[in-house]
């Protein structure tokens, strides 16, 4: 199968859907002629012009609110935040409007809006350009949250986002953007709420999301040399969260680690741990472990930045500790 980058795969999904659905438009800063700071819309402006590739002033709250109104009246907006950190100025529109209007209107109004942006720590982007924030949108009802870890998932999940009728956070880790992977030329879409078992194993289960997925896979390949046979699950979407796949795996391995680059407190790992506690307690041979980035704003200096993200050594240690328990 051909291999393309994560960014190319996501762009392909957008381009294909824009070709068939004239109600899709994209807003953002530099997503017009420039094609997006991360090349998310490269080449589309030439085809579709400014109404559908809308360069905006720096008004994150404004254009998110505008897109809410557009979504309510027959359009399908895609908000391209560039760095997801810029979403914060629009939290009122998101948490009080976009997530609630389908409910408030008893389903008579739809809210087909895609909110995309780069997440994660890397490249000394420093603390205003390194956020992830997905636990916030998992906590608040009304959002779908996708965190694809490879080109295939990126395309398939964005397709689903662009054809569904719900608000979707589509979050692309900046260190994944240039990774290549197989993506079929034929049309496909990936349903939300379906985790992928990206490595089978029997000694322990690791749930690894976004950038942690490839990192954990690398570590598990190493550990295999020591006959440690680890199962790795990428949830792919955090809301809905496919607990069935995780529980089944824990039923088999008895041990669970959740590896997530972003913060621990009230994070995804906490939620998964609590649910396994509730639904799979008797399967557990050891306490569930969490591996997270350090609970701190992101420092700039590489010497500090690398100290706060879970690196391969930390992953290996966490898995070895878990198996040894």
């Amino acid at each position: 199968m051909r291999e393309i980058t994560y960014t190319e795969a996501a762009r392909e999904a957008l381009a294909e859907q824009m070709a068939v659905d004239p109600s899709i438009f994209v807003v953002g800063e530099g997503i017009g002629e420039r094609g997006g700071n991360f090349n998310t819309t490269l080449g589309l402006y030439e085809k579709y012009g400014p109404m559908r590739l809308r360069d905006t002033p720096i008004v994150e709250r404004g254009f998110v609110g505008l897109c809410a109104g557009a979504a309510m009246t027959g359009s399908r907006p895609v908000v391209d935040f560039m760095f997801i950190d810029f979403i914060l100025d629009s939290m009122g529109e998101l948490l009080n409007q976009i997530s609630k209007i389908q409910y408030m209107s008893s389903g008579r109004i739809k809210m087909p809006i895609v909110l995309r942006g780069c997440i994660g720590i890397g490249g000394a982007a420093a603390t205003h350009h390194s956020g992830s924030y997905y636990p916030l949108f998992v906590h608040i009802p009304g959002f779908r949250v996708a965190t694809p870890s490879n080109p295939y998932d990126a395309k398939g999940l964005l397709k689903t986002a662009l054809t569904g009728d719900d608000p979707v956070l589509f979050l692309e880790h900046k260190l994944l953007l240039n990774r290549r992977g197989p993506v079929p030329e034929a049309e496909y879409a990936l349903p939300f709420g379906q985790a992928a078992v990206i490595r089978e194993g029997s000694d322990a289960t690791v749930v690894a999301l976004a950038v942690m997925a490839p990192k954990v896979l690398d570590v598990c390949d190493e550990l295999a040399k020591d006959r440690l046979d680890i199962e790795v699950i990428d949830p792919r979407t955090l809301a809905p969260l496919d607990m069935a796949t995780i529980l089944e795996s824990v039923g088999k391995t008895g041990r669970l680690l959740i590896a997530d680059e972003t913060f621990g407190p009230c994070g995804i790992g906490a939620e998964i741990s609590a649910q396994v506690m509730e639904q799979g307690f008797d399967d557990l041979d050891a306490p569930i472990a969490r591996l997270n980035g350090v609970h701190t704003p992101t420092p700039y200096s590489p010497s500090l930045e690398s100290a706060i993200i879970p690196d391969n050594a930390a992953i290996e240690k966490a898995i070895r500790d878990l198996v040894a328990e």
Partner: protein, 329 residues
């Protein structure tokens, strides 16, 4: 003028009266219902400001859309939501326009273009602009109206929303209901320049007029021009309506301190309904008896609505978490 007194000439003018009276009666009855404990949540009435929603919505088609605020009963009624559906919503009943999910501050009737009222100040402006974006993108000639109070004018949403509408030439009508206060914070304390229309022209190069918001004909006329402008693709407008609410900010709230009895009395003298009634009679569009009949009709309608609301069932608790996501997702 007497020679306007043809059926076709007078009826729209009388209809404005009919709508204003309907809003007033509905509000009065909702206030009473609130006092009686029949409205479990907050209730912000539109009494004194009826001319604005009435004058604006008289220019709208059913497929035009309206985005409104915490003070949205009048906008809902003027857009065509029935008093039954509004009253039932405020009583939290399954027959309410939001099926009991919303209450006074969250009225929805998208079938007829009421796209929601919001308990948060600001979003109506942005969503209104967004509907305009949709219509332009989809090649529709629908227009969008955003209502908001003077309290929204200092908020970032106002500036971001108006600017976007202006630079992208969106078919939107922004209607500022300047009743001089945001709860008890006076507009004169919230900003040094209260001439909103002038500001909007200077900052956004948008068509903007200031009108007497208690003069339904003036509002209707300004809105007619704004709607025509939007519908023909000539971009957005702002209508800055000076008005006054003659009841407390919300039912049950103390209303003292921040405004004087004299001020209130003076504005009660400028009641938009009485003024329009006088004009209708003087201009020969209706007789006093005609207007009395309209009031009686409104009273009947509203009494029926209240009765309907009272006797309607509460929503089924089992549905409390329905509709968070679209069907099938």
């Amino acid at each position: 003028m007497a020679n306007d007194r043809t059926a076709s000439g007078s009826e729209p003018l009388v209809a404005l009266y009919r709508m204003m009276v309907l809003i007033r009666r509905t509000e009065e009855q909702l206030a009473r219902a609130h006092q009686m404990g029949l409205v479990p949540g907050p209730c912000h009435t539109y009494v004194g400001e009826e001319a604005i929603a009435t004058g604006v919505c008289a220019n709208l088609r059913a497929d035009d859309v309206v985005f409104s605020t915490h003070r949205g009963h009048g906008h809902a009624l003027a857009k065509g939501v029935s008093p039954r559906a509004v009253a039932a919503e405020l009583m939290g009943k399954a027959t309410g326009c939001s099926q009991g999910r919303g209450g006074s501050m969250h009225l929805f009737a998208p079938e007829i273009g009421l796209m929601g009222t919001s308990g948060i100040v600001g979003p109506s402006i942005l969503q209104g602009a967004g509907a305009g974006y949709s219509f332009k993108l989809l090649g529709s000639d629908q227009v969008s109206v955003a209502f908001f109070g003077d309290g929204a004018v200092s908020n970032g949403a106002f500036h971001e929303g108006l600017n976007m509408a202006a630079i992208w030439d969106l078919p939107v009508i922004f209607v500022c209901e300047d009743n001089m206060y945001a709860t008890e914070v006076a507009f004169r304390d919230a900003t040094r320049v209260q001439d909103v229309a002038q500001r909007v022209r200077a900052s956004y190069d948008m068509a903007a007029v200031r009108v007497d918001g208690n003069d339904v004909l003036a509002v209707r006329q300004a809105a007619e021009e704004a709607v025509a402008r939007a519908r023909s693709g000539d971009g957005p407008s702002l209508i800055d309506c000076k008005t006054y609410r003659t009841r407390p900010h919300a039912e049950g709230m103390r209303d003292g301190g921040y405004r004087t009895a004299e001020e209130m009395a003076a504005w009660k003298q400028r009641d938009p309904i009485a003024a329009h009634a006088a004009w209708l009679i003087e201009a020969g569009h209706a007789s006093a008896a005609d207007l009395e009949a309209i009031e009686a009709e409104a009273t009947t309608t509203v009494n029926d609505a209240i009765e309907f609301a009272r006797s309607s069932p509460f929503p089924d608790p089992a549905t409390a978490a329905d509709f968070i996501f679209s069907a099938g997702a």
